[in-house]
Symmetry: C2
Subunit: 248 residues, 2 copies
Protein backbone atom coordinates (compact mmCIF):
# COMPACT_ATOMS: atom_id res chain seq x y z
CA UNK A 1 0.00 0.00 0.00
CA UNK A 2 1.36 3.43 -0.91
CA UNK A 3 1.75 6.21 1.57
CA UNK A 4 -1.08 8.52 2.19
CA UNK A 5 0.19 11.47 0.23
CA UNK A 6 0.49 9.34 -2.89
CA UNK A 7 -2.86 7.63 -2.66
CA UNK A 8 -5.49 8.33 -5.25
CA UNK A 9 -9.19 8.32 -4.45
CA UNK A 10 -11.45 6.43 -6.79
CA UNK A 11 -14.25 8.92 -7.24
CA UNK A 12 -16.66 6.40 -8.70
CA UNK A 13 -16.74 3.83 -5.91
CA UNK A 14 -17.55 4.12 -2.24
CA UNK A 15 -18.11 1.79 0.66
CA UNK A 16 -20.91 2.25 3.18
CA UNK A 17 -21.13 0.39 6.46
CA UNK A 18 -24.22 -0.69 8.33
CA UNK A 19 -22.82 -1.13 11.83
CA UNK A 20 -25.06 -2.96 14.26
CA UNK A 21 -24.63 -2.82 18.00
CA UNK A 22 -26.51 -4.28 20.94
CA UNK A 23 -26.58 -2.59 24.34
CA UNK A 24 -28.10 -5.66 26.04
CA UNK A 25 -31.52 -4.08 25.57
CA UNK A 26 -32.02 -2.94 22.01
CA UNK A 27 -30.54 -3.46 18.57
CA UNK A 28 -28.97 -0.27 17.29
CA UNK A 29 -27.23 1.01 14.21
CA UNK A 30 -24.47 3.59 14.02
CA UNK A 31 -25.41 6.57 11.86
CA UNK A 32 -23.65 9.79 11.14
CA UNK A 33 -25.18 13.19 10.91
CA UNK A 34 -24.27 15.63 8.23
CA UNK A 35 -22.74 18.92 9.13
CA UNK A 36 -24.29 21.20 6.52
CA UNK A 37 -27.90 20.38 5.79
CA UNK A 38 -30.13 21.40 8.70
CA UNK A 39 -33.52 20.93 7.09
CA UNK A 40 -35.66 17.81 6.75
CA UNK A 41 -35.11 16.41 10.24
CA UNK A 42 -35.50 12.76 9.35
CA UNK A 43 -33.28 12.71 6.31
CA UNK A 44 -30.21 14.07 8.04
CA UNK A 45 -28.80 10.68 8.93
CA UNK A 46 -26.66 8.58 6.71
CA UNK A 47 -24.52 5.47 6.87
CA UNK A 48 -20.83 5.97 7.51
CA UNK A 49 -18.89 5.53 4.32
CA UNK A 50 -16.20 6.93 2.09
CA UNK A 51 -14.80 6.80 -1.41
CA UNK A 52 -12.19 4.09 -1.79
CA UNK A 53 -8.53 4.53 -2.64
CA UNK A 54 -7.28 2.90 -5.78
CA UNK A 55 -4.62 0.94 -3.97
CA UNK A 56 -6.89 -0.69 -1.40
CA UNK A 57 -9.35 -3.54 -1.70
CA UNK A 58 -12.99 -3.01 -0.82
CA UNK A 59 -12.56 -4.94 2.41
CA UNK A 60 -9.63 -2.73 3.34
CA UNK A 61 -11.68 0.37 2.63
CA UNK A 62 -14.50 -0.87 4.85
CA UNK A 63 -12.06 -1.69 7.65
CA UNK A 64 -10.59 1.78 7.29
CA UNK A 65 -14.00 3.49 7.51
CA UNK A 66 -14.85 1.43 10.56
CA UNK A 67 -11.61 2.21 12.28
CA UNK A 68 -11.80 5.92 11.53
CA UNK A 69 -15.28 6.10 12.93
CA UNK A 70 -15.26 3.74 15.87
CA UNK A 71 -11.59 3.22 16.59
CA UNK A 72 -12.32 -0.50 16.57
CA UNK A 73 -10.46 -3.16 14.66
CA UNK A 74 -11.05 -6.89 14.24
CA UNK A 75 -14.75 -6.39 13.96
CA UNK A 76 -17.08 -8.85 12.26
CA UNK A 77 -17.49 -7.44 8.80
CA UNK A 78 -19.15 -8.85 5.75
CA UNK A 79 -19.89 -7.53 2.31
CA UNK A 80 -23.56 -7.09 1.54
CA UNK A 81 -23.31 -6.24 -2.12
CA UNK A 82 -23.15 -3.38 -4.56
CA UNK A 83 -25.79 -0.70 -4.97
CA UNK A 84 -26.14 1.43 -8.02
CA UNK A 85 -29.10 3.75 -7.59
CA UNK A 86 -29.22 6.13 -10.53
CA UNK A 87 -31.32 8.69 -8.69
CA UNK A 88 -29.17 9.36 -5.68
CA UNK A 89 -29.41 13.11 -6.16
CA UNK A 90 -33.19 13.12 -6.18
CA UNK A 91 -33.30 14.58 -2.67
CA UNK A 92 -32.23 18.21 -2.74
CA UNK A 93 -30.45 18.00 0.64
CA UNK A 94 -28.31 15.17 -0.65
CA UNK A 95 -27.25 17.30 -3.58
CA UNK A 96 -26.32 20.25 -1.40
CA UNK A 97 -24.40 18.05 0.97
CA UNK A 98 -22.43 16.31 -1.75
CA UNK A 99 -21.50 19.64 -3.28
CA UNK A 100 -20.04 20.60 0.06
CA UNK A 101 -17.76 17.59 0.41
CA UNK A 102 -16.95 16.19 -3.03
CA UNK A 103 -14.87 17.58 -5.81
CA UNK A 104 -17.08 16.01 -8.46
CA UNK A 105 -20.48 15.98 -6.73
CA UNK A 106 -22.35 14.91 -9.83
CA UNK A 107 -20.25 11.91 -10.71
CA UNK A 108 -22.07 8.63 -10.66
CA UNK A 109 -21.05 6.55 -7.66
CA UNK A 110 -21.48 2.84 -7.10
CA UNK A 111 -21.41 1.92 -3.47
CA UNK A 112 -20.42 -1.37 -1.92
CA UNK A 113 -22.28 -1.99 1.31
CA UNK A 114 -20.89 -3.82 4.32
CA UNK A 115 -22.51 -4.90 7.49
CA UNK A 116 -20.62 -4.98 10.73
CA UNK A 117 -21.41 -6.33 14.17
CA UNK A 118 -19.87 -4.75 17.22
CA UNK A 119 -20.11 -5.30 20.89
CA UNK A 120 -21.36 -2.02 22.31
CA UNK A 121 -19.72 -2.59 25.67
CA UNK A 122 -16.24 -2.73 24.23
CA UNK A 123 -16.99 0.44 22.33
CA UNK A 124 -15.53 3.43 24.14
CA UNK A 125 -15.98 6.39 21.87
CA UNK A 126 -13.25 8.96 22.12
CA UNK A 127 -14.33 12.55 21.49
CA UNK A 128 -12.30 12.56 18.30
CA UNK A 129 -14.40 9.80 16.82
CA UNK A 130 -17.49 11.81 17.46
CA UNK A 131 -16.28 14.90 15.78
CA UNK A 132 -18.30 13.49 12.90
CA UNK A 133 -21.31 13.26 15.23
CA UNK A 134 -22.03 9.60 14.94
CA UNK A 135 -24.71 8.11 17.13
CA UNK A 136 -26.38 4.83 17.86
CA UNK A 137 -30.01 4.78 16.77
CA UNK A 138 -32.48 2.08 17.72
CA UNK A 139 -33.34 0.29 14.52
CA UNK A 140 -37.04 1.02 14.93
CA UNK A 141 -36.27 4.73 14.70
CA UNK A 142 -34.45 4.45 11.41
CA UNK A 143 -36.89 5.71 8.86
CA UNK A 144 -35.54 7.73 5.99
CA UNK A 145 -31.84 8.13 5.33
CA UNK A 146 -29.72 9.96 2.78
CA UNK A 147 -29.34 8.71 -0.80
CA UNK A 148 -30.23 5.03 -1.11
CA UNK A 149 -29.04 4.34 2.41
CA UNK A 150 -32.42 3.28 3.65
CA UNK A 151 -32.54 0.55 1.06
CA UNK A 152 -29.07 -0.53 2.10
CA UNK A 153 -30.00 -0.50 5.75
CA UNK A 154 -33.09 -2.62 5.11
CA UNK A 155 -31.04 -5.05 3.12
CA UNK A 156 -28.49 -5.31 5.92
CA UNK A 157 -31.14 -5.85 8.54
CA UNK A 158 -32.73 -8.59 6.49
CA UNK A 159 -29.35 -10.21 5.90
CA UNK A 160 -28.65 -10.14 9.62
CA UNK A 161 -31.96 -11.85 10.33
CA UNK A 162 -31.46 -14.43 7.63
CA UNK A 163 -27.91 -15.19 8.59
CA UNK A 164 -28.80 -15.66 12.23
CA UNK A 165 -30.96 -18.58 11.16
CA UNK A 166 -28.01 -20.56 9.93
CA UNK A 167 -24.88 -19.17 11.55
CA UNK A 168 -24.01 -18.19 15.09
CA UNK A 169 -22.98 -14.66 14.15
CA UNK A 170 -25.02 -13.03 16.92
CA UNK A 171 -22.23 -13.57 19.40
CA UNK A 172 -20.27 -10.80 17.76
CA UNK A 173 -22.73 -8.37 19.25
CA UNK A 174 -22.15 -9.50 22.82
CA UNK A 175 -19.30 -9.10 25.30
CA UNK A 176 -17.02 -12.06 25.95
CA UNK A 177 -18.99 -13.06 29.00
CA UNK A 178 -22.73 -12.94 28.73
CA UNK A 179 -25.80 -14.53 30.21
CA UNK A 180 -28.20 -16.72 28.30
CA UNK A 181 -30.90 -14.17 28.94
CA UNK A 182 -28.84 -11.54 27.17
CA UNK A 183 -28.32 -13.89 24.25
CA UNK A 184 -32.01 -14.64 24.25
CA UNK A 185 -32.90 -10.95 24.24
CA UNK A 186 -30.49 -10.36 21.39
CA UNK A 187 -32.06 -13.05 19.24
CA UNK A 188 -35.51 -11.70 19.94
CA UNK A 189 -34.34 -8.19 19.03
CA UNK A 190 -32.94 -9.38 15.72
CA UNK A 191 -35.68 -11.69 14.57
CA UNK A 192 -38.30 -9.33 15.94
CA UNK A 193 -40.46 -11.82 17.78
CA UNK A 194 -40.69 -13.69 21.05
CA UNK A 195 -38.82 -16.94 21.40
CA UNK A 196 -39.63 -19.52 24.03
CA UNK A 197 -37.09 -19.22 26.82
CA UNK A 198 -36.72 -22.89 27.63
CA UNK A 199 -36.49 -24.01 24.03
CA UNK A 200 -34.03 -21.29 23.20
CA UNK A 201 -31.71 -22.24 26.04
CA UNK A 202 -31.97 -25.91 25.25
CA UNK A 203 -31.07 -25.26 21.65
CA UNK A 204 -28.04 -23.11 22.37
CA UNK A 205 -26.73 -25.64 24.83
CA UNK A 206 -27.34 -28.56 22.52
CA UNK A 207 -25.56 -26.82 19.64
CA UNK A 208 -22.63 -26.67 21.98
CA UNK A 209 -21.59 -23.15 21.09
CA UNK A 210 -21.80 -21.78 24.63
CA UNK A 211 -19.68 -22.79 27.58
CA UNK A 212 -20.87 -22.29 31.12
CA UNK A 213 -18.47 -20.31 33.31
CA UNK A 214 -18.04 -20.57 37.06
CA UNK A 215 -19.18 -17.02 37.50
CA UNK A 216 -22.49 -15.38 38.24
CA UNK A 217 -23.90 -11.91 38.13
CA UNK A 218 -23.49 -9.96 41.35
CA UNK A 219 -25.59 -7.21 42.81
CA UNK A 220 -28.74 -7.93 40.86
CA UNK A 221 -32.01 -7.87 42.78
CA UNK A 222 -33.01 -11.33 41.65
CA UNK A 223 -31.48 -14.73 41.21
CA UNK A 224 -28.09 -14.09 39.66
CA UNK A 225 -27.58 -15.35 36.16
CA UNK A 226 -24.71 -17.58 35.15
CA UNK A 227 -22.17 -16.24 32.69
CA UNK A 228 -21.30 -18.07 29.53
CA UNK A 229 -18.71 -17.68 26.83
CA UNK A 230 -18.53 -19.05 23.30
CA UNK A 231 -17.18 -22.35 22.49
CA UNK A 232 -14.87 -20.91 19.86
CA UNK A 233 -13.98 -24.33 18.48
CA UNK A 234 -17.53 -25.32 17.70
CA UNK A 235 -18.33 -21.80 16.62
CA UNK A 236 -15.71 -21.98 13.89
CA UNK A 237 -17.07 -25.31 12.76
CA UNK A 238 -20.63 -24.03 12.59
CA UNK A 239 -19.58 -20.86 10.81
CA UNK A 240 -18.30 -23.02 7.99
CA UNK A 241 -21.07 -25.56 7.87
CA UNK A 242 -24.03 -23.49 8.87
CA UNK A 243 -26.66 -25.10 11.02
CA UNK A 244 -28.70 -27.97 9.79
CA UNK A 245 -31.37 -26.69 7.53
CA UNK A 246 -32.98 -28.02 4.40
CA UNK A 247 -31.53 -31.35 5.26
CA UNK A 248 -29.36 -32.46 2.37
Amino acid sequence: MKHNNQRKLNTGISVDCVIFGFDLEELKVLLIQRKTAQKAPDSRFSLPGDLIYNDETLDEAAIRVLKELTGLENIYLEQLGAFSALDRLSKIEDKIWLESIREQPNERVITIAYFALVNLNSFHPSPANFATSASWRPIQNVTSLAFDHHEIFESAHQQLKAKLQTQPIGFNLLPDKFTLSQLHKLYEAIVGKELDKRNFRRKMIKLDIVKKLEEKQVGVPHKPSNFYEFNQKNYQKLLKEGFDNFGF
Copy 2:
Protein backbone atom coordinates in the same frame (compact mmCIF):
# COMPACT_ATOMS: atom_id res chain seq x y z
CA MET B 1 -31.70 5.49 -20.87
CA LYS B 2 -29.76 7.40 -23.47
CA HIS B 3 -29.16 6.09 -26.94
CA ASN B 4 -26.11 4.04 -27.62
CA ASN B 5 -24.05 6.67 -29.33
CA GLN B 6 -24.37 8.94 -26.30
CA ARG B 7 -23.64 6.33 -23.66
CA LYS B 8 -20.50 6.58 -21.65
CA LEU B 9 -18.65 3.50 -20.40
CA ASN B 10 -17.54 3.51 -16.79
CA THR B 11 -14.01 2.22 -17.13
CA GLY B 12 -13.62 1.42 -13.46
CA ILE B 13 -16.54 -0.96 -12.98
CA SER B 14 -17.49 -4.18 -14.71
CA VAL B 15 -20.03 -6.94 -14.23
CA ASP B 16 -19.16 -10.61 -14.63
CA CYS B 17 -21.73 -13.38 -14.84
CA VAL B 18 -21.44 -16.94 -13.62
CA ILE B 19 -24.10 -18.63 -15.73
CA PHE B 20 -25.09 -22.11 -14.63
CA GLY B 21 -26.90 -24.58 -16.86
CA PHE B 22 -28.04 -28.16 -16.43
CA ASP B 23 -28.33 -30.54 -19.37
CA LEU B 24 -30.25 -33.14 -17.32
CA GLU B 25 -26.98 -34.90 -16.68
CA GLU B 26 -24.36 -32.48 -15.50
CA LEU B 27 -24.06 -29.02 -14.02
CA LYS B 28 -22.29 -26.66 -16.40
CA VAL B 29 -21.10 -23.10 -16.54
CA LEU B 30 -20.92 -20.83 -19.56
CA LEU B 31 -17.41 -19.55 -20.22
CA ILE B 32 -15.98 -17.50 -23.00
CA GLN B 33 -12.70 -18.00 -24.70
CA ARG B 34 -10.41 -15.14 -25.52
CA LYS B 35 -9.50 -14.47 -29.09
CA THR B 36 -5.90 -13.34 -28.72
CA ALA B 37 -4.01 -15.29 -26.10
CA GLN B 38 -3.30 -18.80 -27.36
CA LYS B 39 -0.86 -19.94 -24.70
CA ALA B 40 -1.52 -21.42 -21.27
CA PRO B 41 -4.32 -23.79 -22.24
CA ASP B 42 -6.17 -23.77 -18.94
CA SER B 43 -6.17 -20.06 -18.36
CA ARG B 44 -7.87 -19.13 -21.62
CA PHE B 45 -11.36 -19.21 -20.25
CA SER B 46 -13.07 -16.37 -18.51
CA LEU B 47 -16.49 -15.39 -17.25
CA PRO B 48 -18.64 -13.34 -19.61
CA GLY B 49 -18.68 -9.74 -18.51
CA ASP B 50 -18.34 -6.15 -19.59
CA LEU B 51 -17.70 -2.65 -18.32
CA ILE B 52 -20.90 -0.92 -17.30
CA TYR B 53 -22.39 2.21 -18.83
CA ASN B 54 -22.84 5.18 -16.57
CA ASP B 55 -26.55 5.40 -17.25
CA GLU B 56 -27.43 1.83 -16.36
CA THR B 57 -27.74 0.09 -13.02
CA LEU B 58 -25.61 -2.94 -12.24
CA ASP B 59 -28.61 -5.22 -12.69
CA GLU B 60 -29.27 -3.70 -16.10
CA ALA B 61 -25.66 -4.22 -17.08
CA ALA B 62 -25.81 -7.89 -16.05
CA ILE B 63 -29.04 -8.39 -17.99
CA ARG B 64 -27.41 -6.78 -21.00
CA VAL B 65 -24.35 -9.03 -20.84
CA LEU B 66 -26.57 -12.07 -20.52
CA LYS B 67 -28.72 -11.08 -23.43
CA GLU B 68 -25.79 -10.25 -25.67
CA LEU B 69 -24.21 -13.59 -24.96
CA THR B 70 -27.09 -16.00 -24.77
CA GLY B 71 -29.94 -14.14 -26.40
CA LEU B 72 -31.99 -15.00 -23.36
CA GLU B 73 -34.07 -12.65 -21.24
CA ASN B 74 -36.03 -13.16 -18.05
CA ILE B 75 -33.38 -15.36 -16.59
CA TYR B 76 -32.93 -15.95 -12.89
CA LEU B 77 -30.21 -13.50 -11.94
CA GLU B 78 -28.82 -12.50 -8.59
CA GLN B 79 -25.97 -10.34 -7.47
CA LEU B 80 -23.15 -12.17 -5.74
CA GLY B 81 -21.11 -9.23 -4.62
CA ALA B 82 -18.19 -7.02 -5.54
CA PHE B 83 -14.65 -8.21 -6.10
CA SER B 84 -11.64 -5.97 -5.95
CA ALA B 85 -8.52 -8.01 -6.56
CA LEU B 86 -5.56 -5.70 -6.74
CA ASP B 87 -3.40 -8.20 -8.60
CA ARG B 88 -5.56 -8.87 -11.60
CA LEU B 89 -2.69 -8.27 -13.99
CA SER B 90 -0.45 -10.79 -12.30
CA LYS B 91 -0.95 -13.27 -15.13
CA ILE B 92 0.87 -12.12 -18.23
CA GLU B 93 -1.81 -13.44 -20.61
CA ASP B 94 -4.43 -11.36 -18.81
CA LYS B 95 -2.32 -8.26 -19.35
CA ILE B 96 -1.85 -8.95 -23.06
CA TRP B 97 -5.51 -9.63 -23.52
CA LEU B 98 -6.66 -6.49 -21.72
CA GLU B 99 -4.30 -4.40 -23.79
CA SER B 100 -5.99 -5.76 -26.88
CA ILE B 101 -9.53 -4.81 -25.87
CA ARG B 102 -9.42 -1.89 -23.42
CA GLU B 103 -8.46 1.68 -23.96
CA GLN B 104 -7.07 1.97 -20.44
CA PRO B 105 -5.83 -1.56 -19.81
CA ASN B 106 -4.04 -0.66 -16.60
CA GLU B 107 -6.92 1.08 -14.88
CA ARG B 108 -8.04 -0.53 -11.67
CA VAL B 109 -11.38 -2.27 -12.15
CA ILE B 110 -13.87 -3.37 -9.52
CA THR B 111 -16.14 -6.11 -10.75
CA ILE B 112 -19.63 -6.92 -9.57
CA ALA B 113 -20.38 -10.61 -9.96
CA TYR B 114 -23.76 -12.11 -10.76
CA PHE B 115 -24.93 -15.62 -10.87
CA ALA B 116 -27.54 -16.76 -13.33
CA LEU B 117 -29.49 -19.98 -13.75
CA VAL B 118 -30.68 -21.02 -17.18
CA ASN B 119 -32.51 -23.97 -18.55
CA LEU B 120 -30.18 -25.48 -21.10
CA ASN B 121 -33.02 -26.92 -23.15
CA SER B 122 -34.53 -23.53 -23.87
CA PHE B 123 -31.12 -22.31 -24.88
CA HIS B 124 -30.75 -22.34 -28.66
CA PRO B 125 -27.47 -20.64 -29.45
CA SER B 126 -27.51 -18.71 -32.70
CA PRO B 127 -24.16 -18.58 -34.52
CA ALA B 128 -23.94 -14.87 -33.76
CA ASN B 129 -23.89 -15.59 -30.05
CA PHE B 130 -21.00 -17.90 -30.51
CA ALA B 131 -18.89 -15.45 -32.44
CA THR B 132 -17.43 -14.85 -29.00
CA SER B 133 -16.83 -18.59 -28.69
CA ALA B 134 -18.75 -19.23 -25.53
CA SER B 135 -19.11 -22.79 -24.36
CA TRP B 136 -20.64 -24.80 -21.58
CA ARG B 137 -18.05 -26.42 -19.37
CA PRO B 138 -18.81 -29.09 -16.78
CA ILE B 139 -18.09 -27.49 -13.43
CA GLN B 140 -15.58 -30.18 -12.51
CA ASN B 141 -13.44 -29.12 -15.47
CA VAL B 142 -13.27 -25.50 -14.39
CA THR B 143 -9.84 -25.12 -12.91
CA SER B 144 -8.02 -21.88 -13.54
CA LEU B 145 -9.67 -18.88 -15.14
CA ALA B 146 -8.57 -15.39 -16.13
CA PHE B 147 -8.06 -12.63 -13.53
CA ASP B 148 -9.84 -13.39 -10.28
CA HIS B 149 -12.58 -15.27 -12.13
CA HIS B 150 -11.86 -18.55 -10.47
CA GLU B 151 -12.46 -17.03 -7.07
CA ILE B 152 -15.72 -15.58 -8.37
CA PHE B 153 -16.76 -18.89 -9.86
CA GLU B 154 -16.06 -20.72 -6.59
CA SER B 155 -18.04 -18.14 -4.70
CA ALA B 156 -20.97 -18.52 -7.10
CA HIS B 157 -20.91 -22.28 -6.85
CA GLN B 158 -20.91 -22.12 -3.08
CA GLN B 159 -23.74 -19.61 -3.11
CA LEU B 160 -25.75 -21.88 -5.38
CA LYS B 161 -25.24 -24.79 -3.00
CA ALA B 162 -26.09 -22.74 0.05
CA LYS B 163 -29.15 -21.18 -1.50
CA LEU B 164 -30.53 -24.49 -2.63
CA GLN B 165 -30.75 -25.46 1.03
CA THR B 166 -33.30 -22.80 1.79
CA GLN B 167 -34.93 -21.77 -1.47
CA PRO B 168 -36.33 -23.71 -4.40
CA ILE B 169 -34.15 -21.95 -6.95
CA GLY B 170 -33.08 -25.14 -8.65
CA PHE B 171 -36.19 -25.17 -10.79
CA ASN B 172 -34.76 -22.36 -12.86
CA LEU B 173 -32.30 -24.85 -14.27
CA LEU B 174 -34.98 -27.21 -15.54
CA PRO B 175 -37.49 -27.13 -18.41
CA ASP B 176 -41.14 -26.43 -17.61
CA LYS B 177 -41.95 -30.10 -17.56
CA PHE B 178 -39.51 -32.36 -15.79
CA THR B 179 -39.41 -35.68 -14.03
CA LEU B 180 -38.65 -36.12 -10.36
CA SER B 181 -35.59 -38.10 -11.34
CA GLN B 182 -34.26 -35.13 -13.27
CA LEU B 183 -34.90 -32.89 -10.31
CA HIS B 184 -33.20 -35.44 -8.10
CA LYS B 185 -30.19 -35.61 -10.38
CA LEU B 186 -29.98 -31.83 -10.44
CA TYR B 187 -29.92 -31.59 -6.66
CA GLU B 188 -27.27 -34.25 -6.46
CA ALA B 189 -25.20 -32.42 -9.07
CA ILE B 190 -25.39 -29.17 -7.14
CA VAL B 191 -24.79 -30.41 -3.62
CA GLY B 192 -22.26 -32.90 -4.87
CA LYS B 193 -23.44 -35.97 -3.02
CA GLU B 194 -26.00 -38.75 -3.24
CA LEU B 195 -29.46 -38.12 -1.90
CA ASP B 196 -31.87 -40.89 -0.98
CA LYS B 197 -34.39 -41.23 -3.78
CA ARG B 198 -37.45 -41.97 -1.65
CA ASN B 199 -36.75 -39.30 0.92
CA PHE B 200 -36.03 -36.73 -1.78
CA ARG B 201 -39.31 -37.37 -3.59
CA ARG B 202 -41.29 -37.36 -0.40
CA LYS B 203 -39.79 -34.05 0.59
CA MET B 204 -40.47 -32.33 -2.71
CA ILE B 205 -44.02 -33.54 -2.72
CA LYS B 206 -44.65 -32.56 0.85
CA LEU B 207 -43.24 -29.08 0.28
CA ASP B 208 -45.92 -28.83 -2.37
CA ILE B 209 -43.77 -27.11 -4.94
CA VAL B 210 -44.26 -29.70 -7.67
CA LYS B 211 -47.49 -30.58 -9.42
CA LYS B 212 -47.98 -33.94 -11.08
CA LEU B 213 -49.03 -33.75 -14.73
CA GLU B 214 -51.08 -36.27 -16.68
CA GLU B 215 -48.19 -36.97 -18.97
CA LYS B 216 -45.42 -39.52 -19.06
CA GLN B 217 -42.17 -39.98 -20.88
CA VAL B 218 -42.49 -41.89 -24.16
CA GLY B 219 -39.96 -44.06 -25.96
CA VAL B 220 -37.77 -44.77 -22.98
CA PRO B 221 -36.55 -48.35 -22.53
CA HIS B 222 -37.80 -48.57 -18.99
CA LYS B 223 -40.82 -47.63 -16.96
CA PRO B 224 -41.76 -44.16 -18.16
CA SER B 225 -41.47 -41.36 -15.66
CA ASN B 226 -44.25 -38.97 -14.84
CA PHE B 227 -43.80 -35.31 -15.72
CA TYR B 228 -44.19 -32.59 -13.13
CA GLU B 229 -44.29 -28.82 -13.19
CA PHE B 230 -43.80 -26.24 -10.47
CA ASN B 231 -46.46 -25.10 -8.21
CA GLN B 232 -45.73 -21.45 -8.95
CA LYS B 233 -47.95 -20.21 -6.15
CA ASN B 234 -46.19 -22.13 -3.44
CA TYR B 235 -42.87 -21.46 -5.08
CA GLN B 236 -43.36 -17.72 -4.71
CA LYS B 237 -44.30 -18.18 -1.09
CA LEU B 238 -41.25 -20.27 -0.35
CA LEU B 239 -38.96 -17.89 -2.19
CA LYS B 240 -39.98 -15.21 0.26
CA GLU B 241 -39.96 -17.27 3.42
CA GLY B 242 -37.22 -19.75 2.69
CA PHE B 243 -37.66 -23.25 3.94
CA ASP B 244 -37.79 -24.02 7.58
CA ASN B 245 -34.32 -23.98 8.99
CA PHE B 246 -32.85 -22.86 12.26
CA GLY B 247 -36.32 -22.83 13.60
CA PHE B 248 -37.06 -19.37 14.90
